[in-house]
Symmetry: C2
DNA sequence: CGGGATCCGTTCCGATACTG
DNA sequence: CAGTATCGGAACGGATCCCG
């Protein structure tokens, strides 16, 4: 068995200093993967993104986009229209990630039934 | 462009009712993916897991394992030794997920430098 | 060893109001 | 349109104590 998360000689497996964990910690929040997937379909503007990704608030969307931009995964472009237009797109780096995100989403689609069934069984057993 | 997250006819893209989002919301936390990856290397006991995955507290580890078990991704086996021994393993379902988790981790390893560089540039620009 | 129960600070997040 | 600022409640998470 190989260790996928941190095979570098200078780091302990799953140690907090492991660089891979830094990235995972960033991506593993409620919205990042969802936003990445939405942007993988093409450029989107702020309010459109807000409408598309149901349940995200304006504040959290703004914060999340800023983090993803800081990580170099998405790009923010401002057009000097009136009123101003802002467009978000995946960067090249972000595009390389979106394939993996998509496969995670695919897994979720394929196995949602099994997961829900397991939850029901678990809840029934632990009445 | 296809929509990977929720292509079912009866659900809106990225809607809160989309089953894929239910799964993603569950996996997208600080520890689940990390625990899944660690367990993909073989059975582990509670305290070993706690030591391996640096930074997780006993309480959060316990809660996280319970959720993953409820979702049918991991199995918990108790051995009537003294003191008691508890072993966690991936289920078959969980094993099918670990490949995707691993590819996400691989991406993180490959691109950590690019991400960190982007962060530095972003921070420098927004002094 | 493998947790559960409790207390408590911090952080998150939604709602609201305001701005260029 | 695309945000920022502020406030208050809720949820998270760590530390500690306890138990079979």
């Amino acid at each position: 068995m190989t260790d996928f998360l941190c095979d570098l000689a200078s780091y302990n497996v799953y140690s907090q200093a492991c660089p891979a964990r830094l990235v995972l910690d960033r991506l593993a929040d409620k919205w990042s993967l969802l936003l990445m997937d939405r942007l993988s379909q093409g450029p989107v503007r702020f309010n459109q993104l807000r409408r598309d990704v149901e349940g995200i608030s304006q504040k959290v969307l703004s914060q999340s986009l800023k983090k993803l931009e800081r990580d170099g995964l998405i790009a923010r472009r401002v057009f000097a229209t009136v009123p101003v237009t802002v467009e978000y797109t995946l960067t090249e780096l972000g595009a390389t990630l979106s394939d993996t995100v998509a496969s995670l989403a695919h897994w979720a689609e394929r196995n949602i039934d099994a997961v829900l069934a397991s939850q029901r069984q678990y809840d029934a057993h632990n009445a």
